[in-house]
Symmetry: C2
Subunit: 173 residues, 2 copies
């Protein structure tokens, strides 16, 4: 299975400032495309760092033995104090490393992190409905579609498309 | 009808810095109770101003002819650039002015503001399910429950309770 072969060769570790150029290199085409992440498609590396790393509680990278970045994710509380027991995560897989289990590897890691950080549940606020590969991957990992927001994402190729709110309880895991 | 009588005597206008002491006076008991708003129940007036006014796009107050504050609301984009065509609002009615139509008055005003500001839809991310009066009021105003997040709000009296995501398209209004 390619998934196991790949994940055996990679490591997930905290994103350090020195990792940002290589991380932004895989994020930039995803941001520019504006088809999955809600960020300004024109934003620069500095704005990306502020949003992805500084505004998060923790950020991680998936790296190969020779230091290549294949993916990144971040985790943060989904809301202020009385909603801060639910976490929110964002994930990016390098366009060249898709369909190799990197997303699921990061999801598993993020779920462990969430539990370790004391979160009781995980919520994604804006899973673009046209991104069916992602929706199905999250569903396989136990994230349920709680509801669908009509036209809530401004897809840069398809226009206004629906987005799902997805949720998973972490209690009892 | 009490609603009309009340609303005829009040004015909605932008919240000015000088309004904050009177506005915080009506918000403080609601924040302290921790039963409807997700903010830190222990936060002070300065933190309240930062969250309610400075972090919003616009904030308003409902005032009587003699300057008494009966309610306040704010409006802001619900997400970054590709989700910024959907607005998010928060509303507080003075505990002493409930059931007089102040909430619906603010909702109507906020909907007009949303359209004027170019928003295409309105979303509430965390409507506490036990706050049935609010849920029903929003439903009467056309907000639909898109989904319900299990245990997503840490109610300070009842523990972890469900919260609704509510949504209304503003196109064609």
């Amino acid at each position: 299975m390619p998934t196991i072969a790949t994940t055996a060769m990679v490591q997930i570790r905290p994103l350090l400032p020195k990792d940002w150029p290589a991380t932004w290199q895989i994020m930039e085409p995803v941001v520019r495309a504006g088809e999955t992440l809600p960020f300004n498609p024109a934003m620069d590396a500095g704005a990306g760092y502020a949003i992805w790393v500084e505004a998060a509680q923790k950020a991680f990278v998936v790296v190969t033995g020779d230091g290549q970045v294949l993916g990144t994710y971040h985790i943060k509380p989904n809301g202020p104090t009385l909603a801060a027991h639910v976490c929110n995560c964002g994930y990016v897989v390098a366009p060249t490393a898709r369909r190799q289990g990197i997303g699921s590897l990061m999801f598993s890691h993020s779920q462990e992190q969430a539990v370790a950080l004391g979160f009781q549940a995980m919520q994604f606020n804006l899973v673009v409905a046209t991104n069916t590969a992602a929706v199905q991957a999250w569903q396989r990992n136990g994230m349920a579609i709680i509801g669908t927001l009509p036209g809530a994402f401004h897809h840069q190729r398809l226009g206004f498309v629906d987005a799902h709110v997805m949720f998973k309880s972490l209690k009892g895991d």
